[in-house]
Amino acid sequence: MEKVKSLDEFLSLHDRLVVGKDPDIPTLIIPAGTCGQASGANDLIRITKKELLNKKLTEKIRLRITGCHGFCEMEPSVLIEPWGVYYPKVDSKKMVDIVDSVAKGEVLKDLLFIDPITGNPIEKQSDISFFKKQVRTLLSRNEKVDPIRIYHYIENNGYVAMAKMLSSGHPSQVIEEIKASGLRGRGGAGFPTGLKWERLANQTNGNGKFIVCNADEGDPGAYMDRSLLEGNPHSIIEGMIIGAYGTGATKGIIYVRNEYPLAIKHLLIALRQANQLGLLGENILGTGFSLDIKMVRGAGAFVCGEETALIKSIEGRMGEPRQRPPFPVEKGINGQPTLINNVETWANIPIIMGLGAQEFAKVGTEQSTGTKIFSLVGRIKNTGLVEVPMGISIEEIVNKIGGGPIHQTRIKAVQTGGPSGGCIPAEMFHLPVDYESLTRAGSIMGSGGMIVMDEHTCMVDLAKYFTRFLKEESCGKCFICRKGTQRMYEILDDISAGRGTLEHLGLLQELGPVVKDASLCGLGQTSPNPVLSTLRYFREEYLEHIEKKRCPAGVCKGLITYLINENCTGCGLCLKSCSAGAIRGEKKERHVIDPKECIKCGVCQSVCKFNAVETR
């Protein structure tokens, strides 16, 4: 790879790459992010490569290995460009047929996606209801780019915005543009990005300023940052170069959690390639501007996503938050001014620069512009990463994109914002998704987790789960967060075990707001949200646990008994799988569970094919 030394050289390289690609050649796109690889994408890639070589099709068909496209539930999948044909859950034995069909220009009807509502096969990815309602500004770029090839990124107009900005010689223009775009931090708090950048730019540059990409994504069930890092690492690097140019920073750090090995691998490759090509490092594109980006691996503490704790972790000390002010923008890593933005925020920068601020601000609402990626999981038909414009209603995300509830149940709430977020009940699904409305409803935008719950989810159990996570992940520095979360968990545990009293509820309601008020950092300040929001909207469920000693969802082990109803055919499957030996019965006769011996593991319920095991 030869170094590109000027803007003209870069633009001619870009033109060469664009001319060189023939959009009419069919391309097999196989997403191989962590989700794809776990479901067998590597097999598909191996078979495809072999097939293309054996049948001498390498000139006629191209293969592109990309990051995740978002529909993780349907992995391993294959997308065929330029037709847009989409095959979900591809069996590796069928891959040969797919390659053959592409060579012939045919579509394999029986492998297509079946609409869960109408039952009809759908040919094109863009027609599937999951994709149809989305505005995929960021995620659609994952399809176009092989993350380990920088030329792919440049071919798709990558680094062009950065190169033009750098050659313009007006750093202040960057900040003006970001401010005009109305972009707000995607890490959860929603602080206006432009203002933050301006504050860094106004700091005197003594020993250098830092910009940091916060990729310490730790929410259970959220993985949008991972898919961006894996699928399009160059977009983050480009965003950081633009940010550094605008604010005058000279050092960049990407803080990734070590649990993301593939993201780390792709990032390191991307950093190396950008350095080799001269897009990073000393004297970028001959403009005299230099930026050095390093990667730091986090050792896996949830609290290190908090910016002051993240700074300590980068400095090599224990990840503990500290009091702000001084804000990191004034005093950050080693006492130098430091700007910290989330992965998604950085990935939005090249898009704003490419589209222009006005165009970007057209999407979304007045207060919250642009799109936001959510990881939509839980008890709905379509799960995966969805990118929607800000201000879309929860209803639309859950029922249109998510496809509604699985089985014949009723969706009762959605949990947003990860462990520190809150629950929003189904009656409030008309709420628009933006920073202000979610906060008013007692939840937060957070980094974008969205967990859908139906009648089989117990809200007490849910609050208990998240509080347990938080009590383990609290750094323990400030007393109220450490003990407050422990005590809340203790009370919830009592309630779910049938030992709860009405005084417990009062105590929770007294303790929660104090933990919120008195904690040092964002983790503690939001930690009572799961408890307080479920108490606010689902109080009757708590009362049912306390007064009637009953768990309406049939989840809390201390309050339920397992029974076998008349659906039982006497197949004996549950009897064989019961590790406690609590099930008795003759073949072809209704079985019985002995409640004294039952350990309530729930295995009988999961193995029964006739819905004969119920909880009461």
């Binding site: 503490a301 609290v303 224990m318 500290r322 009091q323 002010p325 001084p326 009590k471 383990e472 992940e473 609290s474 750094c475 323990g476 520095k477 400030c478 007393f479 109220i480 450490r482 003990k483 407050g484 979360t485 422990q486 005590r487 203790e490 005084e503 105590l507 007294e510 303790l511 104090v514 008020d517 008195a518 904690s519 040092l520």
Partner: protein, 225 residues
Amino acid sequence: MITLHINGLPVSVEQGTTLLEAAQFMGFPIPTLCHKEGLSPYGACRLCLVEIGEGPRARLVSSCTYPAEEGLQVRTASSRVIQARRIILELLLASCPQSKTIQDLASAHGIQQQRFKQEYENCILCGLCVRMCEEQMMAKAIGFRSRGEKRSIGTPFDIQSEDCRRCGACLYICPACELRCTYTEPERAICGGCANLRPPCLEKEGFEDMMCYMDPCVACEIKKD
């Protein structure tokens, strides 16, 4: 000089003064546990909370770590502050009931019962001993380990530190176990806590010859029996 308002009274302080220092200068009492003059502020016990700001933007911050800002409105005893302090003290009492310091504070705030499950922990993890060891004794022999409910203070891997000179400064400063050595003033020891509290570090082998600022030491005597 920076001018701010504490409980409505204007006060001028030098740049870098904390809210706690400013309030104490004015004579407003603010309880503290993890704060000691001569040690760096840490903000762990949250007892020194004060309310700053106005209207919907009002919030609680720990006064020992928050620097004075121009025009800041500070309330040291608003109902929000008192409520938070009371809950914190109740939690402290629930975890560490035998510390005289905590009992006194709780009593001063009119707390007569605690409603949580009673625990008997020795340490409230205020970090005074860690900072004492590092900043005043220049030893850095002990530190924090792990996080959340597993957080504790000790030496790395529980191996006796070569940096420890057994000066006993960590014992001296501990608000949870300082009572252990008040035997010369038995009238101060109203709770019997002295017999119960053992500094966690004394249970480990190799610390038998720990120096004590009281000699002979009651806890050591009790331990021998």
